[in-house]
């Protein structure tokens, strides 16, 4: 669904792919951070990837016998994707970023690039997706690094159990992007104790250093909306009418690439509006998390406690309420109280700190298995956090001059770096 949202958001800033690259030897063309984030990589700058690969969908029953609420009748287990070679090969697990499924476009590209280079691959959805909350999260309250890592580890074991009869594996690797990158670090640490996989290499792509800080930065984007995030509906409708007027006044055949391209070249939306739309996309994602977690735990946060929703009930009001709640609302009113109850003496700052890479920096610094890929202009990182990554990982940090947040992930040089890292 987020693809659909991005489709609309993508309209706001399509960049001419012939844009001049800065003279720094890096060919990714999109200069702006927001634009790169939204547009990603123009198709002609991606590497040649196979159209069809040997792969199948895995449906994992992680908690056999778990009762699912009737509203989630369609959820039959955690959906992962498995790509397999017909010979002995290393297996790479990939974790999606916040809100993204195991079939997200970015994961599919990474999977194909690795498959082409001779790896088996299993992609995993983000623990923040509804599917994961319903089917694979022990608490159904996502966001805690240690618990998410334990959930992910359980999922990896279940996936491995399901496929290990069909393939031969030489070694295991792990990778993730955005929040999935930070989770990969915590999963690798857990693996040092549990030792099911003994990951040989772990790659983190565009990780937040502190999830809390990065969420704060994304929430700030909403502040550029007139009236703030509480007036997101008015803002969205205004952007929409701008969009449709633009179509009407031009002579367009359909809402297609050509139309979207011209939206960018004509600069229909301002920087502030672009930022606001990225923030709103994040909120739409977060709304899915809040609602599914609330239904699963019967916490009475946005859905009345003890209400049993049926598949035909209207969710319209819950949708509106959930998108109007911020990350801070979720953290302060829902997430923190839950952990406070379970870990007496836990302060808010203590909880925030435990979601940061700094909490496991000794491990990250000493373990040679890690590498990190980051971008100078990634808006979810502060200058200090970027320097921190540089200093923590030293030569194991690859910092690109631009690409925004994940915009250059599918660029051919970046994918080549990723494949190369796992091959060495």
């Amino acid at each position: 669904m987020i693809r659909l949202i991005l489709f609309f958001v993508a309209c706001i800033a399509l960049i001419p792919s012939s844009g001049h690259a800065a003279d720094d030897g890096y060919g990714y063309p999109i200069q702006g951070s927001y634009e790169a984030t939204i547009l990603g990589t123009p198709a002609q700058l991606m590497p040649e990837l196979p159209a069809k690969i040997r792969s199948r969908q895995l449906v994992l029953d992680v908690f056999p016998g778990r009762q699912k609420p009737p509203i989630f009748f369609y959820d039959e287990g955690l959906l992962c994707t498995f790509a397999y070679q017909d010979k002995k090969a290393p297996l790479v697990f990939l974790i999606a970023g916040s809100g993204a499924s195991a079939q997200s476009a970015k994961l599919m590209t990474m999977m194909k690039a690795l498959y082409q280079a001779g790896f088996h691959v299993i992609t995993l959805p983000s623990p923040t997706t509804a599917n994961f909350i319903i089917s694979a999260s022990q608490s159904s309250i996502p966001g805690d690094m240690a618990e998410d890592a334990a959930d992910l580890y359980r999922v990896m074991e279940a996936a491995w159990k399901q496929v290990k009869g069909d393939i031969e594996v030489t070694s295991f690797h792990l990778g993730g992007y955005s929040q999935g990158a930070s989770q990969a670090a915590f999963v690798a640490k857990l693996d040092e104790e549990l030792r099911t996989f003994n990951f040989r290499k772990v790659l983190m792509i565009n990780p937040p250093v502190s999830v809390y800080n990065s969420a704060t930065k994304i929430e700030d984007l909403m502040q550029k909306i007139p009236g703030g995030s509480r007036k997101q509906g008015i803002f969205f409708n205004k952007m929409l009418s701008k969009f449709s007027e633009f179509y009407r006044y031009g002579n367009y055949v359909a809402i297609n690439d050509e139309f979207l391209y011209s939206i960018y070249t004509e600069q229909l939306f301002s920087q502030e509006e672009t930022a606001g739309l990225i923030g709103l996309t994040y909120r739409i994602n977060l709304a899915g998390l809040i609602f599914s977690s609330d239904v699963m735990t019967n916490s009475g946060y946005v859905v009345p406690k003890n209400r049993v929703l049926t598949p035909t009930d209207s969710l319209s009001d819950f949708f509106l309420v959930s998108t109007h709640l911020s990350f801070f609302d979720y953290f302060n009113e829902y997430f923190y109280p839950y952990f406070q109850k379970r870990r007496p003496g836990l302060t808010k700052q203590g909880l925030i700190d435990s979601q940061s890479l700094r909490s496991i920096e000794g491990y990250l610094k000493s373990s040679p298995k890690f590498a990190v890929m980051a971008n100078e202009n990634d808006f979810i990182l502060s200058r200090a956090e970027l320097d921190y990554l540089r200093q923590l990982f030293g030569a194991r940090a690859k910092i690109y001059p631009r690409g925004g947040h994940l915009g250059n992930l599918e660029y051919k040089d970046n994918l080549a770096f990723m494949v190369d890292f796992f091959k060495k």
Partner: protein
């Protein structure tokens, strides 16, 4: 014989429908009393976004769910069987043939909207692809610069000012609106009329079987060309996002032109 199959199919549908509709009523149970939620709609003073007139939401959600089950148990297995036994090259040619036949609908409707240039282009496409393109199997028209303009009677109604009316999820066919559903009926009628008039298999005593085969193949090809899968996103508000994008795309593409242009 085909009529018999058809009526059998109908009764199966009716059965599945009623099972689904009663199924959701039966699942409503409530053991403990409700406690109001911490956050409710009353705290927010904002416009709704992604809002579309949807007075029949309960019915629509049932249909949405029916389509999910129909896809899962009937439609998609047939489509993947088709994809499995047919080489990609053949699949593309089949799609081309049906897309070319769709130009007839594009032509009649751009004519009805008095879009001169578009009508000529569409006619040019149809003639080019039917001849040089071997009945639509190939699409040389696009490389000659003749762009495809998708039109249908729903858009024609919108062009002449008809409101979309309430959102409507049709069985099997999927997201629509009251206006687009009547448009669909008209387009199908016109199609049928042309088919009967041309009557390529009119002399054959199996004409009905052949016609049904052609229609079934068309449905399979249409589903084959669509990547959408019900509930695939897993997003709990998917219904609203799909409704919004369907509605908005139709609104934008079927709007009457600016006054100055007339």
């Amino acid at each position: 014989m085909p009529q018999k199959i058809f009526s059998n199919l109908l009764s199966i549908f009716a059965l599945v429908f009623s099972l689904i509709l009663t199924g959701c009523a039966a699942t409503r149970f409530n053991t403990e009393s409700e406690v109001p939620a911490r956050h409710s709609i009353n705290e927010f003073r904002d416009q709704r976004f992604a809002e579309v007139a949807d007075p029949w939401e309960g019915f629509n959600r049932s249909m949405y769910r029916f389509n999910y089950y129909f896809d899962k148990h009937v439609f998609l297995p047939v489509v993947s069987g088709y994809e499995f036994i047919t080489p990609t090259f053949v699949q593309e040619r089949v799609s081309g043939i049906y897309n070319n036949l769709g130009e007839v609908r594009n032509f009649t409707n751009s004519l009805l909207q008095l879009k001169g240039a578009e009508t000529v282009t569409t006619l040019g496409r149809f003639l080019t692809n039917s001849t040089l393109g071997l009945g639509g199997m190939f699409d040389p028209a696009t490389s000659f610069g003749l762009k495809r303009h998708d039109e249908d009677f729903g858009k024609t109604l919108g062009y002449w000012g008809a409101d979309s009316g309430p959102y409507l999820v049709l069985p099997i066919y999927g997201p629509s609106s009251l206006r687009d559903t009547s448009g669909l009926a008209v387009d199908s009628g016109v199609n049928f009329g042309i088919y009967t008039a041309v009557a390529p298999f009119g002399n054959s005593d199996k004409s009905l079987v052949i016609a049904a085969g052609i229609k079934t193949m068309e449905a399979i090809d249409t589903r084959h060309q669509q990547s959408f899968r019900y509930y695939e996103s897993g997003y709990p508000f998917e219904y609203y996002m799909v409704r919004f994008f369907y509605h908005e795309k139709r609104e934008i593409e079927s709007r009457p032109p600016r006054k100055e242009d007339k």
